[in-house]
Amino acid sequence: MGVANTAEASLQEVINWARKNSVWPVTFGLACCALEMMVASSATYDIARFGAEVFRPSPRQADLMIVAGTVTKKMAPMLKRIYEQMPEPKWVIAYGSCASSGGIFQTYGVVQGVDQIIPVDVYVPGCPPRPEGLLKGLISLQEKIAREPSGMRKIVSLPWRSNG
């Protein structure tokens, strides 16, 4: 039993290592923060160094949603639909103060934080945050992924576990 547990833990470590180094974001920008996100994939900041340069045009092929910008109440259903269309495992970065808390827009048209709609893994403060902010957020997310225990995710887990 001990041996099996150790083997499983090791395998989970390998899976986490693979996942954290190929986090593919979905191409999704809502406001000015999206420009900083684009700059993060430029040669100067080069998000490819962390394996996250493959911005997918379809949520079906993406692991990470970077909510970059103001989430209006009109946009909220579309945002949630894109999130639901992403396959597990999936993560969310709330990029900038608007996505984190509504930011300066304390008003009737803006969702006061995207965490009211979808679960958020990492919050990046700033208005807008610099591209380094996104890289730091991504590194934090990678550290979080590396700590994921075996069997935490119901849909994708090791084949011999019964919860799959």
Binding site: K73, K74, A76, P77, K80, R81, E84, G102, Q106, T107, Y108, G109, V110, V111, Q112, Q116, I117
Partner: protein, 171 residues
């Protein structure tokens, strides 16, 4: 003072509709009667000598008090002569305004925006519903009596997608 050919023509053709002509820094504003607004705008667009073929914007103004309470302002531009003209008309709180969306296609969404923000209704509009805000929004945010931040803006905002509704378990 710049001579305004459109003003002269309007005064000549619609003497009882033109309520006033204002000139400020080369910009001309003609206030017209609400009932004749459609005819005036149609004339401005179709007249060969004026040809205001581009509707740049339709804006609403809420004066708070005063009578009539609202103003609707049409910004016109003639592509051929490069002339600009502002047409304003007063609207009472419960009154309707004739649509011009069949004269300029652009007016369709612009009038929807005015309706969305001020609650001014346009009669015979093909599809008069909210355009910027959610369909279930209550109130008209650019009215003077609407609170600046809105009501309960910071309350949780749950989103239930159409396709999720069947999956919900009744509590």
């Amino acid at each position: 003072m710049v001579r305004c050919m459109a003003c002269d023509l309007l005064k000549e053709k619609f003497p009882e509709a033109v309520r006033g002509v204002e000139e400020f820094r080369g910009e001309t504003t003609v206030t017209v009667d609400k009932g004749q607004l459609r005819a005036v705008l149609k004339f401005l667009k179709e007249s060969e000598t004026l040809l205001y073929d581009l509707l740049v914007d339709v804006a609403g103004v809420d004066s708070g008090s005063g009578s009539p309470r609202f103003k609707v302002v049409y910004l016109l531009h003639s592509m051929k002569f490069n002339h600009r003209l502002r047409i304003a008309t007063g609207v009472a709180e419960d009154a309707e305004l004739d649509t011009v969306s069949d004269i300029w296609k652009a007016a369709d969404w612009l009038e929807r925006e005015v309706y969305d923000m001020f609650g001014i209704r346009f009669s015979d509009h093909p599809d008069l519903r909210r355009i910027l805000l959610t369909d279930d929004f209550v109130g008209y945010p650019l009215r003077k009596d609407f609170p600046l931040k809105g009501v309960d803006f910071d309350k949780p905002f749950p989103v239930c997608l159409e396709e999720e509704k069947g999956n919900q378990v009744d509590a």
